[in-house]
Each structure stands twice: as C-alpha cells, then as structure tokens.
C-alpha cells in the first residue's frame, strides 16, 4: 500500500495491489457486503431471560419486516421466496425454541443459533427441497444475530447507484444473483484466481480483483477504481488515473476489433475458440458472439437453483434453451459436477472431510447413476430438438474403466460424442489410454493445478501454487497433450488458463486444439493466436517448460512473444 497524492484536496489517494481475475476496469462508489454473523465465543447469559427473549423475538420481527420490505420491491419469483422467508422469521415455534435456549443459560445470539441449528438439522434430515431451505434458515439466523448484537445485516445491502461490490468473499449464489446493471466491479479480500467468484465474474463480464488487502475496511461510498487485468485498486483515484485507464481500454478495444472469425494461428492452424457457460442466460449472450461454440457448459449451475432433482422434461427444456443459440455449432456439456464446494440438496452424499478429494464429479454419478441417466436422456432429447453439435463429457475421471463406463452410457443414449475432463493427474499422465475409450478430452486446468500442486482452490493464501503458469502443471499438461496425440484424439482446455493470451499460446504450443474460456476473454486470445505461428507457439511452450517458476515462465514467454501483442497486454 502506498499513498501517491491527494486528488481533490480532501480524500487521500491510495493504491493497493490485489490479483486481477476478470478483465476490464471500473470506477465507482464502494458497497460493502457484510459477512455472515456468528455468535460470540462463550457469550454471557442474560441477567433477565424473559427480557432477552422479548429482544430476540423483536430481532426476528425486524428481520421479517426487512424481508417484507424487500419483497415489495422484488420481481415475482423473488417476492414469493422473500415472503416465505419472512414467514419463517415470524414463526412462533422458532421463537419458542429461542426462549427455551435462553432459559437454559445461553446468551441471546447463541440461543438464536441453537434454535436455527435445531430446525436446520430437521430440514437436512428430510433432504431434497427441505435441505435447500437451510440456506434461508441460516440467513434468517445470521440477520437476527446481527440485530441483537448491533452489527450490520449480512449480505449485499440494497443499493440503486451503479457501484463496486466489496466483500470478504462471495458465495456462488450471491455472485450469481447480482444485478449486472448495477455492479460495476467486484473486489474481495479472500478468494483466488480460480475461486468461483472469479469464474462467475469473468463469465458475467464484470471486472474483478481478489485478495485485496483490507478490502472489507474501505468505507462504503468511497470512490475507487479497479483494474481487473493488473489487480490494481485505487482508492479516491486521481481523475488522471481514471482517464488513463479509460484510454488503455479504448486502445485495446480498437486492436481487438480488427480480428474476427474462427480462431487460428498466423499460419492457419485452426484452434477453436469456445465459451464457458453456466446456463441459458449465458448461452443466449455467448450465442450472439463471434465464437465457434461452447467448450464447457457447467450443468450444475442449472441445478443449483432447483428445488428438487430436475425431471427429464424440465432438464430437456433447459438444455434445449441452452443449445438453441448454437445451431450448427458445438456445445460441449459437462455432466453434473457437484461436490462439497457446490453442494446440491438432492445429490448430497453427506459431509466429507476433504470434499475436493471426495465423491464428486463422475464418482457422484456412479454412486447415483439415475441422476446421470436422466441427464443423458434429457441431453439427447434436447440435442435432437436443436441443431447443435452436442458432445458430452464427464468430470473427475481418473481411470480407463471410468472413461469406458461413461462412454458406454453416453452412446447408449444415442449421443454421438463422449469425452472426459482431464483434471486428475493420473488421467493426464495416462491420457493415451484414457482417451482411447472416448472421442475427445478437455483439460480442466483449475482442478488439474489443484491436484498437481496439492493446493486447495478455495485457499486464497495458496494462490501462487495454483498459478496455472507453474512449470509442474505445464509438464502434466504437456504429458496429456502428448498422450492425446498418440491416441489421435483432440484435446482442448476449458480452464481459465485458456483465457490468458500468453498462456493460450503456450497451450497451443503444447498441442492443445481448442480453447474454451469466459466469453469476455475470447477476443484477446484470438488476437494472440493471429499474431503467432504454430512453430512460434511451440518455442514459447519450450521456454515456459524450461523456466524455474511461474514468474520466470511468464517473463520468458512475454519476452519471446510478438511485440505487437505484448504492447496491448
């Protein structure tokens, strides 16, 4: 952190460095998202439990009124949800439980938390739709606790002026429900390069910076500017800085506008440029763009908002809507990839000590084959109903037997092309044998980095180990690409690393044949490819593999790339 000057004689300009995860720049006032409230450790018992009970119930009533006020401003769907949630806050059985826990000598916030826990346990035991309501219950508890403790209400506060959202971290659901027209940018204190906030922000085209020191302490309303490419955030920025940012953005836009059409290297080797999408809305936006199709359709985001396991008809309708904009273009669908970081109420195998290494992806599909079967049937029906070139791949495949098991099911449902994600190092190292069972492979570089480096994606502190430029990760990618070549099968990349123009060149140099990324990153990668021959890409790949660490790899590739591209980065 450094103070570089005073902007208008009042506010002090300050520059802070975070990690840019979604490109673009933004300038606007800060809206602070308050973290969920936990009861204080060893909270003191109230002197007068009866009075404390009245106060706690008053807090629930306050929460209910707040929810009702918000429901009046919400659209139809949100209104019903908010009204039902307000009713829970007014529930007399819930209030009785709080009173009971207060009578047993618990502090007010602790009593509220215990009462919420009681009902949450009942709902979790019921599973399905009810387990999903646990999120609402916890939100009510958190809000009521905030009120009794005199703290700000958790979550995104209502705001009407376009703003930059600052938070400790954002839950996937929170990010997904943000109003794109009001959110200029996102800044978090935690999170990492491949956290879900980063992925969703890039997908929504919202500039974002993660790991910004002190992000949650910047007062609401402070004007800030952020650069989602460099990770720089400026508090009370000098008008000149804001202008420079805008000029650089315009220069980039002009250069990017000059290239269009299918991706290829300068010497004409085709590299398909594809979009990563998470639902029908994304599909519609991506479908209107200059790109060759979808390289990753994450189906679990379609399930996340569902109240129960979606039926065959419901899924067919959703997939048809997703496929419709891609008539004649490819759509690579990843089957349900639920895990403990993206839990689904109806596909929950219980708590796991280590969810990233647990029963997720294809492992979940093998434990609940009926879920996969319905999904494949729906995908086949939607593929028949639309003109899209639908290809289906499984997440978290580790063995040849798993690849075979999946391919059999895909083909039995009349879907022509089966593939696997290459994100487990074992599958990357044996890609020739694994890919022999299927029609294509797709490197999920985010998870591949996590598993290769043994570093949790959700652990912001480990961001450096998760850097996709880690030469160790590039070695594993190189091995996978060599195997794919032996098997004669195409291998794409659908991790966020495909969207980094320099790294995309390295991936192509290693033998990757398609790149799938957030739509907002495609033009930068198209330009990078257009300015390099395949042979040049191979030299860049060799330079990256020869480096000692990520910084070295990045610097070596930057130094050897065309000046034409580097000037725009």
């Amino acid at each position: 952190m450094s103070t570089i000057g005073v902007a208008d004689g009042s506010a002090v300009t300050e520059v802070r460095q975070g990690v840019g995860v979604s490109p673009g720049s933004a300038y606007g006032p800060v809206v602070q998202v308050a973290a969920p409230v936990q009861p204080p450790q060893n909270e003191e018992a109230p002197a007068d439990p009866a009075a404390a009970s009245e106060a706690a119930i008053a807090s629930f009533m306050h929460v209910a009124e707040d929810l009702e006020a918000r429901s009046a401003r919400a659209d139809d769907t949100a209104r019903d949800v908010l009204k039902a949630t307000a009713m829970i806050a007014r529930d007399r059985a819930l209030h009785r439980a709080v009173t009971k826990h207060l009578g047993e000598g618990n502090g007010p916030a602790t009593a509220i938390n215990l009462a919420i826990d009681e009902f949450a346990a009942k709902f979790e035991a019921l599973g399905g739709y009810f387990a999903e309501r646990v999120t609402d219950l916890r939100d009510i508890g958190s809000r009521a606790m905030a009120h009794v403790l005199g703290r700000p209400a958790p979550g995104v506060p209502p705001f009407s002026v376009p703003s930059i959202i600052l938070a400790e971290d954002l839950a996937p659901a929170e990010t997904a429900t943000l109003d794109r027209s009001l959110v200029l940018g996102i800044v978090t204190r935690a999170g990492g390069r491949t956290s879900h906030t980063a992925i969703l922000a890039a997908q929504m085209g919202i500039p974002a910076v993660v790991q910004l020191p002190g992000a949650t302490e910047i007062p609401a309303g402070t004007p800030i500017s952020l650069d989602g490419d460099t990770g720089e955030v400026v508090l009370n920025p000098d008008p000149e800085v804001v202008t420079n940012q805008r000029l650089r953005r315009e220069r980039r836009a002009a250069a990017l506008a000059e290239v269009s059409g299918p991706g290829s290297t300068q010497d004409g080797h085709p590299i398909a440029l594809l979009a990563n999408i998470g639902g029908a809305k994304d599909a519609e936006l991506a479908g209107a763009e200059d790109l060759e199709g979808v390289g990753l359709f994450r189906t679990e985001f379609v399930f996340l908002s569902a109240a129960h396991a979606p039926t065959l008809e419901e899924q067919t309708a959703i997939y048809s809507r997703v496929f419709a904009p891609f008539d004649g273009r490819r759509v690579v669908v990843r089957t349900l990839d639920a895990g403990a970081d993206k839990p689904l109420a109806f596909a929950n195998l219980g708590e796991e000590e280590n969810p990233a290494l647990g029963r997720r992806g294809l492992r979940l599909s093998q434990a609940k084959p009926e879920l996969l079967e319905t999904q494949l049937q729906a995908l086949a029906a939607a593929a028949r109903a639309t003109g899209a070139d639908v290809r289906v791949m499984a997440p978290m495949v580790a063995t040849i037997a798993e690849a075979r098991w999946f391919a059999e099911r895909v083909r039995a449902n009349g879907l022509p092309k089966a593939g696997v994600m290459i994100e487990v190092p074992a599958a990357a190292l044996r890609s020739a044998q694994v890919l022999a069972e299927v029609d294509f492979g797709s490197l999920g570089t985010n998870d591949l980095a996590q598993y290769t480096m043994a570093a949790d994606r959700m652990e912001g502190e480990l961001s450096e180990l998760l850097d996709p430029w880690q030469p160790g990760v590039l070695d594993v990618i190189a091995a996978a690409a060599t195997g794919a070549k032996h098997a004669g099968k195409p291998l794409g990349v659908c991790g966020e690393s495909a969207g980094d123009p320099l790294l995309a060149l390295v991936l192509v140099g290693l033998g990757v044949t398609s790149l799938s990324m957030a739509t907002s990153k495609i033009r930068g990668v198209r330009l990078a490819l257009k300015t390099h021959t395949l042979e040049h890409c191979e030299r860049l790949a060799a330079a990256a593999l020869a480096a000692e660490d990520p910084e070295g790899a990045r610097a070596a590739v930057r130094a050897a790339a065309t000046p034409e591209l580097v000037a725009l980065l």
Binding site: D80, K83, A84, I88, R92, A93, L94, F119, L126, R133
Partner: protein, 89 residues
C-alpha cells in the same frame, strides 16, 4: 375437540407456497390447530417451520385437530385448502 383428515393435493407437497398459504389460514382462524400423520406426533399448524418439517408429500393423508367454538367450521376450511392444489394458482 374436532378432528378431520385431508389428502395433500399440492403437486410439490406441503411446503413453500402451499405451506405458507395453509399456515396463514391457520393464523387467521385464531385457533390452536395441530397437524400430523395419522397416529404420529403432531406439530403446531401455525408454525411454517413445523408444517414444512412434517415433510408431507403429494397424496399423503394428514390429520388436523382443533379446539374452540368454531373448530368444526375452521377445520372444514383448512381441509378444503389442503385438498386443493395450492401451487397451481
């Protein structure tokens, strides 16, 4: 004490919107109404959490009990509610 049985007609079962409509009707009656599966422990029908935690699905039979001057009439109204698809509106 008045007692009635009803069959849950809402396609999604007695939760979310159907549960909210039912609990509101119970509150409006001003009576203490209990709901449960026949022969099983009952819950306060005026508690949305209690009613939802019952987990009554479409086609299940539940029993309502109430006490008070117009208990019979109140239960008739509540049974009619449960016997219609409250999610269809």
């Amino acid at each position: 004490m008045a007692t009635r049985t009803a069959t849950i007609a809402s396609s999604i079962g007695l939760h979310s919107r159907p549960a909210a409509i039912f609990v509101e009707a119970v509150e409006d009656s001003g009576l203490e109404v209990e709901i449960g599966r026949v022969g099983e422990p009952t819950v306060d029908a005026g508690s949305i959490l209690g009613v939802m935690a019952l987990g009554a699905r479409n086609g299940e039979v539940v029993e309502l009990t109430a006490e008070g001057p117009d208990a019979e009439a109140v239960l008739d109204r509540l049974v009619a509610l449960l016997n219609s698809d409250l999610d269809a509106e």
